[in-house]
Symmetry: C2
Subunit: 406 residues, 2 copies
Amino acid sequence: MSSVEDLFDKLNADLAPGQEKRLNFDDIELKGGNLPGEPVDFSHGDVDAFEPVPGALENFNYGFKEIGGTQAYTVYRGREDILEDVAAKLADYSSTSIDAENELIITPGTQGALFLAVGATITRGDKVAIIEPDYYANRKLVHFFQGELYPVQLDYLSHEDKAGIDLDGLEASFKEGVSTFIFSNPNNPSGVLYSREEITKIGELVREYDVNVIVDELYSRQLFDNKTYTHLASLDIVPKENIVTIIGPSKTESLSGFRLGVAYGSKAIIDRMEQLQAIVSLRASGYSQIVLKNWFSEPDGWMAERIKAHQDIRDILLTLFRDAGFEVRTTEAGSYIFPKITDLSIDCDNFVKVLKKQAKVTVTPGTQFGPQFTDCIRLNFSQDKEKAVDAVKRIIKVAGYYKNGK
Amino acid sequence: MSSVEDLFDKLNADLAPGQEKRLNFDDIELKGGNLPGEPVDFSHGDVDAFEPVPGALENFNYGFKEIGGTQAYTVYRGREDILEDVAAKLADYSSTSIDAENELIITPGTQGALFLAVGATITRGDKVAIIEPDYYANRKLVHFFQGELYPVQLDYLSHEDKAGIDLDGLEASFKEGVSTFIFSNPNNPSGVLYSREEITKIGELVREYDVNVIVDELYSRQLFDNKTYTHLASLDIVPKENIVTIIGPSKTESLSGFRLGVAYGSKAIIDRMEQLQAIVSLRASGYSQIVLKNWFSEPDGWMAERIKAHQDIRDILLTLFRDAGFEVRTTEAGSYIFPKITDLSIDCDNFVKVLKKQAKVTVTPGTQFGPQFTDCIRLNFSQDKEKAVDAVKRIIKVAGYYKNGK
């Protein structure tokens, strides 16, 4: 096996969200029957149930028809007037300052921003701290760039007033020479928020050990129960050259189909991200870029209504899982729940496969978020409420088929 | 300097096409005056002068409104029905077979396809043959993935019936252990076509030495003077597992603003490309993907008319450069010309800067295509004819200001 094949063995995307259509089921012995019901894909939000921000398509059409060539071909980091608009809105949102010309880049999706940020900060042999559980791509990106992983545990089930990061473990990794720390807030997949005290302590450690930090705030606008959010960039603790914040309109705003994300922060890192974008994909779709003008400019009440609807679905699904005896932490922000489906006779990767086959329900296995999460599944509950409720009932029923001892 | 900064030093994109807006002119002593005239950006085609394929925007709108969620979120390699449509059209175009499920991936632009193909075939220390001159990203990608460059010369100025590849040099590089060969046909920047004999010999060498080959056919539809084109994939010489072909609708079809490209060929490489796409950008914009249905389905006569209009502009610009004493090979396919602007007192990087400042003309310096091309500039002549003619006259005038001895 060549070394490039060896490298890709660590990236296996077969069970990554969105890829389930390409699964192979041949090796599992099925128990129980098939369950009727509408297919539900919890691997991502349903933008038919929660539609894109109003005006997005109209603005795309405006960019194509009225602006034309200069909208199709922008500087790699994005069209200047759009950078200015986004910089002003994000600076206001995250209580920081952003120089539109030097400290901001538009990317093809928030995934694109994350890839460029990691590629612009680490190279072979660099030590990188990540959280477990956390977004599956964080770990895969470190593998791809041949960095060395330093996992830090998140005890997300034991607390109500904080995320539960092992700060001693984080500091220990920094002492061992970690040069970059990557984490999502709210945490993906558990939906918990880091407390102000946790974020402050992270900032102090990052400063003390001169570590670069990449914070993924993709779902930070969708806060439940009037929770407050602490932007790491808003604290004056971390030197600006050490931090990159990533965010985009793909989740709560349902604009994923346009592939738009942004990163802001360190001028030096953003510069390298643009150089990398020049050989990765040139730029985010020119016509799509203008759709960012609709972001953080939603109609009055639109965001509050969207959050309320999601909180309602969250509450019902949490109750269903808890009534069935499955432990799950209450989502504080974003659209993910991460229940523990314990006492099964099959592992979660195979449970995900039988769910798809027997219940037409797609979920993401916990192992995507850390190798030890073999009894968890992640659901994105940004779905049609009735269908989601029925699908979760089917999940619980299928779990019964595969209960230990059955 | 950290090793990641060191790595990025080799990627410098300041003079890359499209980035000229971010240039710094402070260090050049200007000669002659400023020239009036409309700004022309020869670094890429003007999609206002040559508009996108009819129906593209309408199809995008259809995807958003009528298909919705399943169009926004596709499998990473692209939506199944679109893969099938594109596979059938490309198989017909390039006289080969393409299995839509396993041998094709849709990417964010042809740049995205190239990045994924290189990332899926080479890793640190691998030996990679490239052509000089050739598309600037080929060399940069090899640097980024920390491969070792084996440049092979293209004597593009000395022939009329072939591209002029140094086949002995190519074989010598294969003997030294090159594992991947990357080239564009038609050659970017010179616009020359590889002859059937050259492509056949390349195929034989690739097979003999078991090398992977990535061939970029982005501009292959725009053939002038009734030239014939030889698709490497159409020959039975190269084992299918060794070849990836890259193409997309960004150039002749003017659909760059949608960021669409494709790669087809080796199942194993396409599989790895999809795994890489999962962490790079997830997928090409879902709504954009449907625009591929307009590709290779242009209205009758549309392509012939477009080619005729480009050939007309090509002929006028070639005459202007030749009358001014500058050597340039006749473009056989695509929209690039690559004249040698000899006998200047400044190097071509600075000539590009003064052109921008004094003549409002943007061109790409030859050094982007190989370090030795210090007296060449590349122009994309897919422009408004009158403006392009006037701009080339200004280029010639500014060249006069900086003539040696002046």
